[in-house]
C-alpha cells in the first residue's frame, strides 16, 4: 500500500532477527560471517530440495483429482523438508563454538536467509503496490514465529547429534524433529479445512511453536547443565 507500508513490514520482519543477533551476545564473537555461511547453506539446501521435488513430483502442476491423493502427495513433499535438517546439521558442524552460540548462529543465519529470500521478496512486490492486504502483516508475523521455530530446530539437531544425550530423551527429540518438519503441512491441511481464519491460524502456530520451543529448551538446558556449557 505504498512504500511506507513496505518499510513497516520490513521492520516487523527484520528487527527481531537483529535483536536476537545483537542481544544474544553473538556480535561479541564476530559471528556475522558464520551467519552468512549458514545462509549460504540454506540457499543450497533449498535448491537441492527444489530439484528433488521437481524430479520426483512432476505432477504437482497438474490438477489433482482426489483429495486423498492431494494430502498424501503434500505429505510426501513435506518429507523432502528433511533435507532441511541435513542442511542444519552441516551448518552446525561447520560452526565452531559451544552451546548456545552455535545454535543461535546457525538459527539466525538460516532464518535470516529464509526471511530475506522469501518474505522480503514477496513484500517488495506486494506491499509496495496500491492494494492493501492483511496477508503481508500476517506473513511478517509468521516469519517471526519461524525464527523461534528455527532456533528450536537447530537446538534439536544439535541435541540429536550429541552422543552423550540420555537415551530416554532421544525418542522425544526424534518426535520433536518430525513435528517441526511436518508442522507446516499439518497446519495447512488441518486448519484450512476447519475453516479457521488467518489470524487464528497464526495464533495457533505461535502457541505450538512456543510449546515446541519450551520442550526443546528444557531438554537443552538439562544437557547444557550437565556438560557445563551455557
Amino acid at each position: 500500500m505504498t512504500f511506507y507500508h513496505f518499510v513497516n513490514c520490513v521492520a516487523l520482519v527484520y528487527v527481531p532477527y537483529h535483536f536476537t543477533y545483537k542481544l544474544s551476545g553473538l556480535s561479541e564473537y564476530g559471528a556475522f560471517w558464520k551467519c552468512f555461511q549458514a545462509a549460504q547453506h540454506y540457499v543450497f539446501t533449498q535448491l537441492v530440495k527444489m530439484i528433488v521435488v521437481a524430479t520426483f513430483f512432476p505432477e504437482s502442476e497438474l490438477e489433482v483429482k482426489g483429495d486423498g491423493n492431494d494430502a498424501f502427495s503434500e505429505w510426501l513433499k513435506a518429507s523432502v523438508d528433511l533435507a532441511d535438517l541435513a542442511g542444519l546439521y552441516l551448518v552446525l558442524a561447520k560452526i565452531p563454538g559451544k552451546g548456545h552460540n552455535k545454535i543461535l548462529t546457525a538459527a539466525v543465519g538460516w532464518g535470516g536467509a529464509e526471511m530475506i529470500l522469501s518474505h522480503v521478496y514477496s513484500l517488495w512486490f506486494g506491499a509496495r503496490g496500491a492494494e492493501f492486504d492483511w496477508k503481508y502483516i500476517q506473513g511478517c508475523l509468521d516469519s517471526n514465529i519461524s525464527l523461534v521455530q528455527h532456533i528450536s530446530t537447530a537446538a534439536l539437531v544439535w541435541l540429536w547429534s550429541r552422543h552423550d544425550l540420555k537415551k530416554t530423551l532421544m525418542p522425544i527429540v526424534y518426535f520433536l524433529l518430525l513435528a517441526a518438519i511436518f508442522k507446516p503441512v499439518l497446519f495447512n491441511t488441518l486448519l484450512v479445512s476447519m475453516g479457521y481464519g488467518p489470524w487464528l491460524r497464526l495464533a495457533l502456530k505461535a502457541v505450538t511453536t512456543g510449546a515446541l520451543g519450551l520442550v526443546t529448551l528444557y531438554i537443552y538446558s538439562g544437557l547444557a547443565k550437565a556438560i557445563g556449557v551455557y
Binding site: 513497516n8 528487527v15 527481531p16 543450497f44 552441516l90 558442524a93 509496495r128 492494494e131 550437565a226
Partner: protein, 557 residues
C-alpha cells in the same frame, strides 16, 4: 558416512553457487521495475464522448483518474471519484458532480434493453444533458458486474472518513480507520489528444438508368451509417441509423434486380450514398455534395429530382417525412409524397404518413436532419423517418440497441413501392411480385452485422476501417461504380476533431486510510519493544527453565 561425501560436494559448490546467488538475487530484486501488484478488481471502462465541432468543445475533456472512490452519497471534494449507478444519477447531481467532484464512473445496468420506461427516460435526458456542455472531469461508463456491485455496497455503507470533532473519541476513529475499507480508482491512460489520423469515409454507388445516363433524371437515396451515444464505444445505434442503412441496402438490392432485366430497366438513374460522420452535422454528406455539385460538372446528381434521406426507421409504426421547404404542387417531390401516402394506404393501412415541415434556422449551429445539408445547396431533399421530432432523444443514445426487423421491413416495402411507382410512372398496382418483395431475413442479417459493433464516428474514422470495407462489399454486390471517398478534416482549421482514449481499463485497489499506516507503525514499534524486552531478558527465563530441568547427560558406556 555419506555425510562426509555430502560435505565435500558442498565444499565444491560453495565456491561457485552461493556467491553467485548472493550477488545476483539482491541485484535482480532491486533493479526490477516497481510494478504495483494486480488490483483486486479490474474491468474495462468506456470514456464519455469528446469531440470538437465548428470550434465548440463537447464532452468529457480529461482521461486519467487516480483518486479515492466514493459513493454518490458520501463524496465531498474534488479529490474523490464518484461511482454511481446510472439509475441513481439525477440531472442535478450530475451537474454538481461535474463541477465539484474529481471524476465520475457510471455503472450501466447489465441489460440495457430491459429498462423501465421511467428509467429509460431519465437516462435519455441525462445523456442529452451530458452532451450539451463541456465536462472537465473524466467520466467513464462501465457495465454492471458482481465485483463492482461489491465495491458500491462497500462504499455506500462507509461513513465519511473525515471525522467530525464532536463525534466519538480518538480511539473510536482509530478503530474505525483500521476496519474501514477504502478504494482507489486508477485509470492509467495519458491525457486525451486530438487525433491526427481522422478519415471519414463515404460509400457511394449507382444504378444507371436505361439510355444515356447524362440525360436521364436521377433519384438519390442517402443514409448515414454512424451512430451516436454518450460513450463512443457503447453507441450501437440500431435504430439511428442502423435501420436507415438496412433500408438503403434493401432498396439497392431490389432495384438492382429490377435494373438487371431489360424489360424493367427504368429511365432513371439511382444513386445511393452511405455517408459518414452524420451525427456530427452530416459532414460526410457535406463533402459529397461539394464533390458532386460544386466541382464535377457532369454529375448525375445535378439532375436529381429529389434526394431521399433515411434516418431511424424502426422505432414507430408511422412514417414522418421531414422537409425544410414545402414543395410546390406538381413538383417531383410533391408527386413522390403522393405516391408514398398512396403506397402506405394500400400496403399497410394502419401506417399513416405525415408530412413535417421544419424550417432551417441558419443561426443554429446544429443540423437536425440530413436533408438540411441538401436544402442549403438548393437541392430537393427530405428525410423519411419513424420519428416525429428532430429533437427525439433516441436519435443519440447508447440505449439504442433493439432490432425491430418487422418494422424496418414494413417501411422498406412502402418506400420501395412508392419509389417504383414514381420511376416507372405506374399507379394503383402492386408493382412487386414475390421474389422482389422486401426480404426480412436480409434486413435481419444487415442489422445484426451493424449492431454487433459500436459505430460512433470516432471509432470508424480510421483509414482502413473494416465496417466501411464490409459496407463497400455489400453495395458492390448490387450497385455499379461503388466508390469510397474519404474526408479528412482540414489541418489548420478543422470543422470537427476527434480525441483518442475511448476505452481503458480501470483498476480498483482496496486501500486503507492513511491513519492506518501510522497506527500500524505504532503497533509494530510496540511489538518490537516487547520482543526486545523478551530477548534481553531471555537469560532470566533460561535460568528458570534450567533450574527445573534434570541433567540429561547419559552415562558414557
Amino acid at each position: 558416512m555419506w555425510f562426509d561425501e555430502v560435505e565435500s560436494i558442498a565444499e565444491l559448490f560453495r565456491g561457485y553457487l552461493p556467491y553467485y546467488l548472493v550477488i545476483a538475487l539482491p541485484i535482480f530484486i532491486i533493479i526490477s521495475p516497481a510494478n504495483p501488484v494486480a488490483a483486486s478488481h479490474e474491468f474495462p471502462v468506456y470514456r464519455m464522448q469528446q469531440f470538437d465541432l465548428h470550434g465548440v468543445q463537447y464532452g468529457c475533456r480529461s482521461a486519467p483518474i487516480n483518486m479515492e472512490a466514493k459513493a454518490l452519497s458520501t463524496w465531498t471534494s474534488s479529490r474523490h471519484c464518484v461511482i454511481s449507478k446510472i439509475q441513481d444519477l439525477s440531472i442535478e447531481r450530475f451537474k454538481e458532480i461535474s463541477e465539484k467532484a474529481g471524476a465520475l464512473v457510471v455503472v450501466l445496468p447489465s441489460d440495457l434493453t430491459a429498462l423501465s420506461i421511467e428509467d429509460r427516460q431519465n437516462i435519455l435526458e441525462l445523456e442529452d444533458l451530458m452532451m450539451e456542455r463541456e465536462v472537465s472531469i473524466p467520466v467513464y461508463f462501465t457495465h454492471w458486474n458482481p465485483s463492482i456491485d461489491d465495491v458500491l455496497t462497500d462504499l455506500s455503507t462507509t461513513i465519511p472518513t473525515t471525522p467530525q470533532p464532536a463525534r466519538g473519541s480518538a480511539l473510536e476513529t482509530l478503530m474505525h480507520s483500521v476496519s474501514a475499507n477504502g478504494y482507489q480508482i486508477v485509470v492509467n491512460t495519458h491525457q486525451s489528444h486530438t487525433r491526427t489520423d481522422v478519415s471519414v469515409a463515404n460509400i457511394q454507388g449507382k444504378l444507371g438508368g436505361h439510355g444515356m445516363e447524362d440525360k436521364l433524371p436521377t433519384v438519390a437515396i442517402v443514409a448515414h451509417y454512424d451512430s451516436f451515444g454518450v460513450a463512443p464505444d457503447l453507441a450501437f445505434g440500431a435504430d439511428s441509423n442502423g435501420s436507415g442503412v438496412a433500408v438503403l441496402i434493401e432498396l439497392a438490392r431490389i432495384f438492382s434486380q429490377l435494373y438487371s432485366s431489360q424489360r424493367t430497366h427504368a429511365k432513371f438513374n439511382l444513386m445511393f450514398l452511405l455517408s459518414g460522420a452524420g451525427k456530427l452535422n452530416y459532414q460526410g454528406t457535406k463533402k459529397w455534395l461539394e464533390d458532386h455539385i460544386d466541382s464535377i460538372d457532369g454529375s448525375p446528381l445535378q439532375n436529381a429530382h429529389f434526394v431521399i434521406c433515411l434516418d431511424a426507421l424502426s422505432s414507430g409504426k408511422d412514417i414522418y417525412v421531414h422537409y425544410s421547404k414545402p414543395p410546390k404542387e406538381g413538383t417531383a417531390t410533391s408527386n413522390f409524397f403522393q405516391e408514398l401516402t398512396q403506397a402506405a394506404k394500400e400496403l399497410n393501412p394502419e401506417v399513416k404518413v405525415e408530412l413535417m415541415h421544419k424550417k432551417i434556422n441558419l443561426a443554429d449551429k446544429r443540423m437536425f436532419w440530413e436533408h438540411e445539408r441538401l436544402s442549403m445547396k438548393r437541392m430537393a431533399g427530405f428525410t423519411v423517418s419513424a420519428l416525429k421530432s428532430h429533437q427525439d432523444y433516441s436519435r443519440a443514445t447508447i440505449l439504442d440497441n433493439t432490432i425491430d426487423t418487422e418494422s424496418i421491413a414494413q417501411k422498406a416495402s412502402i418506400l420501395s413501392e412508392a419509389l417504383a411507382r414514381y420511376i416507372y410512372n405506374l399507379s394503383a398496382e402492386d408493382v412487386f411480385t414475390e421474389n422482389l418483395k422486401v426480404d426480412e431475413t436480409a434486413i435481419e442479417g444487415v442489422m445484426d452485422f451493424l449492431v454487433a459493433q459500436p459505430r460512433a464516428a470516432q471509432v470508424l474514422a480510421t483509414k482502413q476501417n473494416s465496417l466501411v470495407t464490409s459496407l463497400q462489399g455489400v453495395l458492390s454486390r448490387y450497385l455499379k461504380d461503388v466508390k469510397v471517398s474519404h474526408l479528412v478534416p482540414d489541418k489548420r482549421d478543422p470543422d470537427f476533431s476527434f480525441y483518442d482514449v475511448t476505452k481503458a481499463t480501470v483498476n480498483v485497489y482496496s486501500v486503507k486510510p492513511a491513519v492506518f499506516d501510522l497506527f500500524l507503525t505504532f503497533a509494530i514499534v510496540a511489538y518490537l519493544g516487547l520482543s526486545y524486552l523478551c530477548i534481553q531478558n531471555f537469560s532470566l527465563f533460561y535460568g528458570l527453565v534450567a533450574r527445573v530441568s534434570v541433567p540429561a547427560k547419559s552415562k558414557v558406556q
